[in-house]
Symmetry: C2
Subunit: 163 residues, 2 copies
DNA sequence: TTTGCTAATGTTATAATGTTGCAAATTCCG
DNA sequence: CGGAATTTGCAACATTATAACATTAGCAAA
């Protein structure tokens, strides 16, 4: 198993969060983009686990924070974060997850566990090139590729097997 | 270009519809499933073009038909049709499109034109196997694979290029 | 033919997700 | 400082999807 498969194993998750926030600051600085407190807080919330969070879940936590936010606040923050590749939207879940390859150019592929809800983002060059070849055969010009695989992660698959 | 690329070319679309309805009847018969008038009508509407239709678009046409339907009617019909592989839901569009490979087992990949809105469904074994290999490397057990490519179809790409 | 079961539909209400538009505040930069 | 641009607050609204429960249609056994 790849060493990147953190979501499906116990790990020091606080390190994930810290790293993600540090990366975000770097990336925003490089692009002269403003990682405002709201945006940073939303990113932090998205990173609270490897389970994608809905926009309204984020909104609810902001409310607990005492931040009297409305939906547009959250969607705007999420749009911003997506724009700089800091979070991804998972279309099949209507939810958002932290990008684990922030900064590097990448074609994500998401492995979504139906049981525990954790999501692993992969960079799969073989998949990406196969998709582009298939598109090219139809003379189609791809701009954005969504690959989301729903199934069972190693932990949950073995839990299921053993009862 | 594959001869399957009908959506992006002029064609006798009525033939698509007729074929789809005939296939549906066969498939439902084989499974002892009832292709009721509502379900058949919804399938027919979905097939009105190769542009995916939202559930509420379907609902609106049913209303024009004089069918006083509510959302659950449409969603139930769509669920049924999906269950027998007669339509697909396009997650990135929240919309539904007729399955062009009904009956055959297949792993669809969708090429969605941003300009004209038409969708081409492909069977891409190379993509499918690459996805499964990538999942296997993470010991992930796939149950359902979503591959949606947004971009420009040949017609629209050349329109764009030539002004 | 009635009875009784199951699948399918109708109906109402509501939940969940996402957007628009405009005004106020903040930040950037000369 | 002061003007321009970005960001936020806020209210209303639009879209997509589901829950819960009542009713009806199809079909087969008594």
């Amino acid at each position: 198993m790849s060493s990147s498969a953190l979501p499906y194993r116990p790990h020091n998750h606080q390190a994930c969060v810290t790293q993600a926030l540090a990366d975000a600051r770097t990336i925003c600085q490089q692009h002269n983009a403003r990682l405002t407190p709201t945006r940073e807080r939303v990113l932090e919330l998205i990173w609270q686990s490897h389970k994608p969070l809905g926009a309204y879940d984020v909104l609810a936590v902001l409310a607990e924070d005492g931040h009297n936010a409305a939906p547009p606040t959250v969607y705007r923050a999420l749009d911003f974060l997506q724009q700089y590749g800091l979070v991804h939207r998972i279309a099949s879940l209507n939810a958002f997850t932290g990008c684990t390859h922030a900064g590097k150019s990448h074609n994500g592929m998401f492995l979504i566990c139906r049981s525990c809800g954790n999501v692993l983002e992969l960079t799969a060059p073989a998949v990406s090139s196969a998709v582009h070849r298939a598109a090219a055969e139809e003379s189609f010009r791809p701009e954005d590729v969504t690959i989301e695989v729903s199934g069972y992660c190693p932990r949950c698959a073995s839990d299921k097997a053993h009862g």
